[in-house]
Amino acid sequence: MAARTLTIDGRLVSARAGESILEAARDAGIHIPTLCYLDGLSEVGACRLCLVEVAGSNRLLPACLTPVSEGMEVQTATERLREHRRAIVELLFAERNHVCAVCVASGNCELQNLAIQVGMTHVRYDYLNPVCAVDISHPQFGIDHNRCVLCARCVRACDEVEGVHTWDVAGRGIHARVITDLGVPWGQAETCTSCGKCLLACPTGAIFRRGTSVAELERDPKRIAQIVAARQERW
């Protein structure tokens, strides 16, 4: 496959044609924060954390969805980008209830890691404190909508990997919620195969295995990519 040469943060990087800036950066050991992106799932460019500056473009571009091109000059961590990322993480913390101290995913949470990475010391915005349900109607799993960041990784894992599309997003704007089937409690969702891929995909403590308590949730989101890769390797 044809190679492309580009610079990321001033470093000369070689990438395959068609590869995204995110992939090229990762291969070169340059870390770009992500949240809605997950290996093995389609990209949606929704969290806006992986936005980068590309010379010649006056807009910021999502690294997960922007293919590399020859001679491209990418900046991934300018002052402006760092400030935007911190603000976006703050907006997420202000949107729902993300109190790490009482969360099953504490210590194993991508949002928590992001807050540390971007240097979020406090939240400048009003906490919106919406009333969100905790649904434990499913015999094995539960979902706490307070922890949900609407990355839709569960929706994509269920649709693209498991292939049943039990999850989707309902409503819009600040009122959007992930739902199962016709908005019924998860335990009543007839299409759910209880495969647990949504649990693997969830970046926070929103989807959890029942019975886990604070900081006990362990899960490996890389398994989604392994399942997808294994499926492609079958002969």
Binding site: V44, G45, A46, C47, R48, L51, R59, L60, P62, L65, R80, H84, A87, I88, L91, L92, A94, E95, R124, Y125, D126, L128, V149, L150, V169, G171, R172, G173, I174, H175, A176
Partner: protein, 539 residues
């Protein structure tokens, strides 16, 4: 169908016409003022006075002066009646015979009418939009015939490019360039989509065009389809516009019956079929990729571009998306030539633009003016200034993505570049006049509430950022904010503008930024000098 048949239809229609035509507007605005009832009363009055031989009453589209509706115009005498009540119908018919008449008379020589230039609205208020014969008698479908017989697709695109037409949906992208991109994008199928999801509050240009002259849009779409190599088209219309949908449906059926849509149009190899898709109430669907998602039956959520719909659109095929008014410009350009069109307007903004002039202005309604007319001419000459003498403060253009231009800049010519330089945008054509009673902080808050409710929720900055900005604006409006809050508002404006996924979020801060730019004192007057804040923030 061939040219001779088309001409025969036109001839029959002209022969059918009676000496005197009483034209009654039955667009939605006037219908709300009982114009349907008025139309029937006018017909009854003609029959009752035994004038059926010489006088006909026609139901026509929008005449533009919506604030004074229902409107009735009599041809050829060019009499204009305003705010007509159904019970006044006999009086109007009697006036035709020279009897005195107390019905409010309009002045057809008022600058509101004379300063306009009708290109896309040329049939508005003149033909019955529900009868294809009237459109054909006005020369309709001849441009399509000429294109199919005398033009290669490349020549059509060249003509549109040379005309200088730019997208009327708001962004002003050169139409010819867009067509050329779709034409050269490889694809087994291609689509033409007409964006009639006129979501900007305070805008009703597209509704009026669709209600008054649906065939003009259909013919424009057919010409576009021929030029880019598409055979299927969709018209996406807001669900809030039932009359436009009804008239479009009728128009499509009539055109199909005459062989002007469908297979082998004008006995050529060109096929083109059109379907209507009815919007279900989501402003974000005006955004191209969300519009596509909605036509595909999905949640109207945008996706990042590129790839642009011109390359990967509906079901992944190359798709041309133009706004209603853009398509309505095509037939006049083909008929009169690119040079004629390019001679109208300014250096970079060619042709005319339709605006919905509303708010605190004496003459509200729809106007079509050449690009480059100044805001002052529009507001003062056509609009007649403020209705009660309160000084006009600003004009809002471009809806929730636009901005407020203060009265001191009213000499700004209306063209894409000048409006952008003034911190607003052309937008789709809403023009809301505001006077000294209008609080600019409230207006900014109003638009932010709109964007917050209409955010699809997909990307974080738009979903949460609009809510936080709205809270800050509410705090300022309530007199409870400090300078720190204002600073935070400005910081959020930058964040949401630079990081949002689609145009809705990227432009949501515009009304705040433009009112801050010109009316900052209104914000500052509402701020509270918080002791703690000033102690920390100031030396």
């Amino acid at each position: 169908m061939d040219l001779a048949e088309l001409h025969a239809i036109a001839e029959r229609e002209r022969a059918r016409r009676k000496a005197v035509r009483v034209l009654c507007c039955t667009s939605s605005g006037c219908q709300a003022s009982r114009s349907l009832e008025l139309f029937h009363q006018l017909e009854a009055a003609v029959t009752a006075t035994g004038q059926d031989e010489a006088v006909e009453v026609a139901s026509v589209g929008c005449m533009g002066f919506c604030g004074q509706g229902p409107m009735v115009r009599v041809e050829p005498a060019n009499l204009l009646f305003e705010r007509v009540r159904p019970e006044q119908a006999p009086e109007i018919i009697a006036a035709l015979a020279g009897q005195p008449c107390s019905v409010e008379r309009g002045d057809p020589n008022h600058p509101f009418f004379t300063r306009q230039m009708h290109v896309v609205r040329r049939n508005g208020g003149i033909i019955d939009p529900e009868r294809i014969e009237e459109y054909i008698a006005a020369g309709g479908y001849e441009a399509l015939y000429r294109v199919l017989h005398d033009f290669s697709p490349a020549e059509v695109i060249q003509e549109i490019t040379r005309s200088g037409l730019r997208g009327r949906g708001g962004a002003g992208y050169p139409t010819g360039l867009k067509w050329a991109t779709v034409a050269k994008s490889p694809g087994e199928r291609k689509f033409v989509v007409c964006n009639g999801d006129e979501g900007d509050p305070g805008a009703f240009m597209d509704r009026s065009i669709l209600e008054s002259d649906p065939h003009l849009v259909l013919e424009g779409m057919a010409i576009a389809a021929y030029a880019v190599g598409a055979h299927e088209g969709y018209i996406f219309v807001r669900g809030e516009y039932p009359l436009a949908i009804q008239r479009l449906n009728r128009a499509i059926n009539q055109a199909r019956k005459l062989g002007l849509l469908g297979s082998q149009i004008f006995e050529t190899a060109f096929d083109f079929k059109v379907e209507i898709r009815v919007g279900a109430g989501a402003f974000v669907c005006g955004e191209e990729t969300a519009l596509i998602a909605s036509i595909e039956g999905r949640r109207g959520q945008p996706r990042p571009r590129p790839p642009y719909p011109a390359e990967k659109g509906l079901w992944g095929f190359p798709t041309l998306i133009n706004n209603v008014e853009t398509f309505a410009n095509i037939v006049p350009i083909i008929e009169n030539g690119a040079d004629w069109y390019a001679a109208i307007g300014t250096e970079k903004s060619k042709g005319t633009k339709v605006f919905a002039l509303t708010g605190k202005v004496r003459n509200t309604g729809l106007i079509e003016v050449p690009m480059g007319m100044t805001l002052r001419e529009i507001v003062e000459d056509l609009g007649g200034g403020s209705p009660d003498g309160t000084p006009v403060k600003a004009v809002q253009t471009g809806g929730p993505s636009g901005g407020c231009i203060p009265a001191r800049l009213f000499d700004t010519p209306v063209d894409y570049e000048s409006l952008a330089a003034a911190g607003s945008i052309m937008g789709s054509g809403g023009m809301v006049v505001m006077d000294d009673h209008t609080s600019m902080v409230e207006i900014a808050r109003f638009y932010m509430a709109f964007c917050m409710d209409e955010s699809c929720g997909k990307c974080v900055p738009c979903r949460v950022g609009t809510v936080q900005m709205h809270r800050l604006l509410s705090k300022i409006a309530a007199g409870q904010a400090t300078p720190v809050d204002l600073e935070q508002l400005e910081q959020l404006c930058r964040l949401v503008r630079e990081t949002s996924l689609c145009g809705l979020g990227q432009s949501a801060p515009n009304p705040v930024l433009s009112t801050l730019r010109y009316f900052r004192e209104e914000y500052e007057a509402l701020l509270r000098e918080d002791a703690a804040a000033s102690a920390n923030g100031k030396p």
